[in-house]
C-alpha cells in the first residue's frame, strides 16, 4: 500500500466531492453539538485544496504540502489546524517513505499532539486511531471505518466545542469523526489500498 502522486490526487478529488456533497449534513451535525460550521469550514478548505492540486504539484511531497497549507489557511476553526497538521506530518515523512500505514501513523500522531485528544474523547481522533491500527495489519474495510465513526455517537465529548455539552453530547455523531470517515472512505474507494 503505497501512496503515489497519482492515487493521492484521485483520493483528494473524491474526498473534495464527498465534502461538497455532505456540507450541509456536516454542519447539521455540528449544530447539534458544536457551532454548526464544520461542513462550511471543510467545504471551503477542500475547495482550496482542489485549486492548489489543480496547479499540478511535481511530486507527492509537494502535493501533500500544498494540501496541508490549503487546509491550514482556509479551514480555520479546530478542524483546520488538525487536518492541516495531519497532512503536514505526511508531507514531512513522505520524503523518507510512502508507505500508507506509516504516513497515517505519523499524521495521527501529529493530530493528537496538536489537539491533545485521546481515544474516547469524541473527536476525529476516534476515527484516525482505529484506521491507523487497521492499516497496520491490513484489515481496513469500509465497515471498520463506519464502525469507528459510529462509535463516537455514544461517547461523551472531552475535547472541542462539544465538550461544553458534557453528557448532552451523548447520542450525537462527532462531525469531525464523520468528515474523517469520508476521508478514509475516499481512500478505500479510489484504490489507494489495493
Amino acid at each position: 500500500m503505497e501512496l503515489t502522486l497519482e492515487n493521492y490526487l484521485a483520493w483528494m478529488q473524491d474526498f473534495a466531492q464527498k465534502i461538497a456533497d455532505k456540507k450541509d449534513y456536516l454542519s447539521d451535525l455540528d449544530s447539534k453539538i458544536g457551532d454548526g460550521d464544520h461542513g462550511n469550514n471543510m467545504a471551503r478548505g477542500l475547495k482550496a485544496v482542489s485549486e492548489a492540486l489543480a496547479t499540478k504539484p511535481a511530486d507527492l511531497t509537494s502535493a501533500l504540502k500544498v494540501t496541508a497549507m490549503a487546509l491550514i489557511s482556509k479551514v480555520g476553526g479546530a478542524a483546520g489546524p488538525l487536518y492541516g497538521t495531519a497532512f503536514l506530518e505526511m508531507a514531512k515523512l513522505s520524503s523518507k517513505t510512502v508507505d500508507l500505514s506509516e504516513l497515517i501513523t505519523a499524521a495521527a500522531a501529529g493530530l493528537q499532539k496538536r489537539g491533545g485528544a485521546q481515544a474516547g474523547d469524541k473527536t476525529m481522533v476516534d476515527v484516525w486511531l482505529p484506521v491507523r491500527d487497521n492499516l497496520k495489519n491490513s484489515q481496513l474495510t469500509s465497515e471498520k471505518i463506519e464502525q469507528a465513526v459510529n462509535s463516537t455517537k455514544q461517547m461523551e465529548a472531552k475535547k472541542g466545542r462539544a465538550s461544553y455539552l458534557g453528557e448532552r453530547s451523548v447520542g450525537h455523531l462527532d462531525p469531525g469523526a464523520v468528515s474523517s470517515g469520508y476521508l478514509f472512505e475516499s481512500m478505500l474507494q479510489t484504490g489507494v489500498i489495493k
Binding site: S27, D37, N40, G80, P81, L82, T85, G160, S163, Y164
Partner: protein, 331 residues
C-alpha cells in the same frame, strides 16, 4: 433567515471592507487578509504589539478595539470560526516594532490551535511572542477532562487592561504577568432569549420557545446550564449575580468593575434596566462598582440576550487601565 447581507460566503470580506472604509482613522486592512491593524502606526513605536482575534460575528469585537491604548491588530476569522495561522502571523509581523507581540486568545480549541501555529511561525522569524488564553465564562465548569471554560465578554476588559499597560510601555514579560494576574479576576455569565443564526447555516443555533430563556449560553450558541420560563429582569440579575458572587467570592471590601454586554439583538433599554437590577443586587451586598460599562461589546450575531461580567480590581492600577483614554471605534 432575514438578514442585511449579500452572499453568505462574503459576509466577512464585506464587513471588513465596510469597517476599514468607514473608519480609516482607526484601522486599515492588510491587503488580501482579514487583518485590521492600527492606522496610527506612530503610536505603536517602541511598544509591545497586542494582537487579538477569533471568529467573526462578535462585532465590535475585535476590530472595534484596535487603536491607541488598546489593540494593535485584530484578526477576523469566518463567522464563529477561528482565523487561520497565516493570517494571525501576518498580524504579528505587522505590529511587531521590535518589542515583541502579545496574543489575546479566547479559549476555544480552534482558536488555541491556530494561534499556537502562528506563534510557531513567528518564533521561526525570531519575533518574541507571548499569549494569554482568556476563559472568563463560568457557565462551564473547568475540569481536567474538558476543554476548560470559554472566553467571552470579559475578553474585552482584558484587551483594555493590556492595551493601556502596553501604551504605557509595559514589556512583553510585564504584559504576560499582568494578563495572568488579571485573568482569574474576570468572570462572566450570560442568559439568552434567542440563538444566533450563522449566515451560511441559515437557521438559529438552537431553538427556545416564545417564553423560554437559557442561562449560561456561550457566544457561539453553545448550550447553557438551565432552561426555564422568561423571568423579570430582576430575577435574571439575581441568578447571574449569584453565580458570580460564588465564583468571585464577592465582598464589600473589594472594588469591582462591571460590564453589561448585549448579545446583538437586545436593545440598550433592556440592558440599562438589567444594569439597574444588577446594581440593586450588588447594593444589597454593600457593593458599589467603581466602573460600569453597558452596551454591545462581545455580541453573537443576532442573538438576543445579555452577559454580565464582574472584574475584581485587585490592584488600584487596573482601574486606571480601564479609565485610560483610547482611540478606537467601539470602546
Amino acid at each position: 433567515m432575514k438578514k442585511i447581507i449579500n452572499d453568505p460566503q462574503d459576509v466577512v470580506a464585506e464587513m471588513v471592507d465596510g469597517m476599514v472604509r468607514a473608519y480609516p482613522q482607526y484601522v486599515k486592512q492588510i491587503p488580501k487578509t482579514f487583518v485590521m491593524v492600527r492606522s496610527d502606526q506612530a503610536s505603536m513605536k517602541g511598544k509591545v504589539g497586542i494582537v487579538s482575534g477569533g471568529g467573526s460575528g462578535h462585532e465590535p469585537t475585535h476590530a472595534g478595539f484596535v487603536g491607541q491604548g488598546m489593540l494593535s491588530a485584530a484578526v477576523a476569522g469566518q463567522v464563529f470560526t477561528s482565523p487561520t495561522p497565516d493570517q494571525i502571523y501576518a498580524a504579528i509581523k505587522a505590529v511587531n516594532t521590535g518589542k515583541g507581540v502579545f496574543l489575546v486568545i479566547k479559549n476555544y480549541s480552534g482558536d488555541v490551535m491556530n494561534f499556537d501555529m502562528a506563534k510557531d511561525m513567528a518564533e521561526m522569524d525570531d519575533i518574541p511572542v507571548k499569549s494569554i488564553v482568556v476563559d472568563d465564562d463560568i457557565a462551564v465548569e473547568n475540569s481536567l477532562y474538558t476543554q476548560g471554560k470559554r472566553g467571552v465578554a470579559g475578553t474585552v476588559l482584558m484587551h483594555k487592561v493590556l492595551g493601556a499597560a502596553a501604551d504605557q510601555g509595559a514589556s512583553l514579560d510585564d504584559l504576560e504577568q499582568l494578563a495572568k494576574n488579571v485573568l482569574p479576576h474576570i468572570n462572566t455569565i450570560a442568559v439568552a432569549l434567542s440563538a444566533a443564526t450563522v449566515p451560511e447555516v441559515g437557521k438559529p443555533g438552537f431553538e427556545l420557545a416564545d417564553d423560554e430563556i437559557e442561562y449560561g449560553v456561550g457566544i457561539h450558541s453553545e448550550p447553557g446550564y438551565r432552561r426555564e420560563k422568561i423571568k423579570p429582569s430582576k430575577e435574571l440579575a439575581a441568578e447571574l449575580t449569584a453565580k458570580l458572587t460564588a465564583s468571585l467570592k464577592l465582598s464589600s471590601d473589594k472594588k469591582y468593575a462591571i460590564l453589561v454586554n448585549g448579545m446583538g439583538a437586545t436593545p440598550l433599554m433592556e440592558q440599562y434596566i438589567f444594569t439597574h437590577d444588577v446594581l440593586n443586587k450588588l447594593a444589597e451586598k454593600s457593593i458599589k462598582p467603581v466602573f460600569v460599562k453597558v452596551g454591545n461589546y462581545m455580541t453573537s450575531l443576532d442573538m438576543a440576550g445579555i452577559s454580565l461580567t464582574i472584574f475584581e480590581l485587585a490592584s488600584e492600577k487596573w482601574l486606571d487601565y480601564l479609565n485610560y483614554p483610547v482611540k478606537t471605534i467601539a470602546w
